[in-house]
Every structure is written in structure tokens, then in C-alpha cells.
């Protein structure tokens, strides 16, 4: 079994376990404000790190290429309050244009 299968199954099992565990835990455990605060901050940290790594790295090297143009287009789309599919498509279109023509 290769790492892609391990990741697919492992992620799925843990994702369901977390969801199901939540339905079986009394609500008061989550009442602490610091727990709520951390719960809101973890996705911000991980998703931001993923944006940076997926834009500026290739394996373990830092690099600037056509992806920066694509992600910049996504930033503009987000500032203009575009819906999610438009954000993703504007990034793909810009990136493809730079990659194909330069």
C-alpha cells in the first residue's frame, strides 16, 4: 500500500472519528473561551501556511514562478468579493496564461 492510499484511508478514518466524537461529548466541555479561540485560530494558521507553501515552494526549495501570478489574481478576486469558484478560476487562468506564453 503506497503513501497515497495510507493518506486517503487514514485521513478519512480520523475525519469521521472526530465528527462522531463531537456528537458524543457534552456541550459544556467546549464552553471555555480559550478552547473556542484556539478552535478558530488553528484553521487560519494551517490554511495560511498551505497557501504559502503551495505558492512559493517546489519540494524543499523556495521559488517564485507563474503560481505567484495566479495567487495574486486570486487575492484581487477576493478583495473584489468574488465568489469562491471565480477566485479559483481567475488564479488558474492567470497562471496558465503566464506559464504558456512566457
Amino acid at each position: 500500500m503506497n503513501s497515497f492510499w495510507i493518506a486517503t484511508i487514514g485521513t478519512s478514518v480520523i475525519a469521521f472519528t472526530l465528527k462522531y466524537a463531537g456528537h458524543n461529548v457534552p456541550e459544556r466541555i467546549f464552553a471555555h473561551p480559550k478552547v473556542q479561540s484556539i478552535n478558530a485560530l488553528i484553521p487560519i494558521a494551517l490554511l495560511s501556511a498551505l497557501v504559502a507553501v503551495q505558492t512559493f515552494t517546489e519540494k524543499t526549495q523556495l521559488m517564485i514562478d507563474h503560481r505567484l501570478a495566479g495567487v495574486s489574481a486570486a487575492v484581487i478576486a477576493l478583495i473584489l468579493k468574488a465568489p469562491f469558484p471565480v477566485v479559483v478560476l481567475s488564479a488558474a487562468f492567470t497562471s496558465a496564461a503566464i506559464y504558456n506564453w512566457f
Binding site: 463531537g22 458524543n24 478552535n39 487560519i44 494551517l46 495560511s48 519540494k59 488558474a92
Partner: protein, 220 residues
């Protein structure tokens, strides 16, 4: 389910279709990052949580280990558990129904349910089930379409798919940046992850930022 309030129905349907459509981006990105069409579809069926799914394919696509991918996806999945804690006392279901409810406990079903609060608990339950099933249906259909589309594309860079993944993450994090503390954390984590990339094995720089979030959350 007897009568469904029309506002609840409209909210659920519009969220289901728009969110489900991102499934195309996930399907395409997963195949572009080396997952097979079957693995891609299983992730949407079984993991069924957009951010976690994008995370695991992102980490493996960047050369990270299965363990790093699972860890990052699971840290993002914790919030679904928290949604379960919030929804359970309102849904009041047991046994198999609770298993089904757990699987469709995600950002969107919880958000629509909480959005119906003014219309009472019954509308909340209807919003939860309708949105959960609706997103599940469309997310999986569009995942398959995206995966098959990407498979037919060849060089994914020529189609801009290598930028669609970070753009998708950006689209997911953007609405969460509400305060200055959130924005500082986001930029800090980006810089940290990039600085650590040449030093740590792929995937670890991303997981490590979760500890920054915990430190920031404990301080205030």
C-alpha cells in the same frame, strides 16, 4: 420531515450547489497532485470536509509523508468535532442516524443550521439535514467530474491547476480573517512555513503552525 420552511429550503439549496461546485476544484487538484480518481472520490465520500481534503492532497503533492498529510488534515478536522458538540443537543438523534449526522457535520451544514435559529429548532434541524445531504451529493458529483477532467488534461501547469490549489486555500482562509490578530497570525504562519521549508521535511512546516495558533489562543 413534514413542512419545510421555504427560506430554510432556499438557504440550504443555494449553499449546497455553490459549495458542491468547488468539488470540481478538489477533484482536479487531487489528480494533479498524484492521487488516483478512485482515491480522490473516496476522500470526498469518506473524509467529506473540504479543507482537510485539500490539506492532505497539498501535503502529499508537495512531497510530504502520509503521516504529515494525515496530521494536517486531522488538525483541520477538529473543528468538525466542535460542530458536532454544538449540533448534537439540537438534532437529538441516536444510533445509525447519529452516524449519518456525524458524517455530514461540516462548516456549511452547521452554518446554515445556526442561521435558522430565529425560525426555531425545527428549522435548524431541517437546515442541517438539507444542507448536509445537499452538499454531500453535489460535492461528490463535482469531485468525480473534476478528477476525470484533470486526468484528461495532461500537463496540469498548462491549465493553471498548480495555482488553483493555493487559491482554493486562500479562498477558504480569507473569510476567517476577521480581526487584526487573525491577519497577523496568517502572515506570521506564512513566513514561518516558508522559512522552515528548506530545513524541515515536507509537511512539518505546515503542521508546526498549529502550535503557533495554540500559543496565540492561550495568550489571550
Amino acid at each position: 420531515m413534514s413542512r419545510i420552511e421555504s427560506t430554510t429550503f432556499r438557504d440550504s439549496l443555494s449553499v449546497s450547489i455553490t459549495v458542491g461546485a468547488y468539488g470540481t476544484a478538489f477533484g482536479a487538484a487531487a489528480v494533479a497532485n498524484g492521487f488516483s480518481v478512485l482515491q480522490t472520490c473516496l476522500l470526498s465520500l469518506l473524509t467529506f470536509s473540504g479543507a482537510s481534503q485539500f490539506a492532505v492532497i497539498g501535503v502529499l503533492g508537495a512531497g510530504g509523508s502520509a503521516l504529515s498529510g494525515i496530521a494536517t488534515a486531522s488538525l483541520l478536522g477538529i473543528r468538525n468535532g466542535v460542530y458536532g458538540v454544538i449540533m448534537a443537543p439540537r438534532l437529538k438523534v441516536k444510533g445509525f442516524k447519529r452516524v449519518v449526522a456525524a458524517q455530514i457535520t461540516i462548516d456549511e451544514s452547521t452554518a446554515v443550521a445556526l442561521g435558522q435559529e430565529v425560525r426555531g429548532e425545527k428549522a435548524m434541524r431541517q437546515g442541517f439535514w438539507l444542507t448536509g445531504f445537499g452538499v454531500f451529493l453535489f460535492w461528490n458529483l463535482f469531485t468525480l467530474a473534476g478528477a476525470l477532467g484533470a486526468q484528461a488534461m495532461g500537463d496540469i501547469r498548462a491549465w493553471g491547476l498548480d495555482s488553483a490549489v493555493p487559491a482554493a486555500f486562500l479562498g477558504l482562509v480569507w473569510p476567517r480573517l476577521k480581526t487584526n490578530r487573525d491577519r497577523v497570525l496568517a502572515v506570521g504562519c506564512m513566513i514561518f512555513a516558508l522559512a522552515m521549508t528548506p530545513i524541515l521535511p515536507a509537511g512539518l512546516p505546515i503542521i508546526a503552525t498549529a502550535f503557533i495558533a495554540i500559543a496565540v489562543g492561550l495568550r489571550k
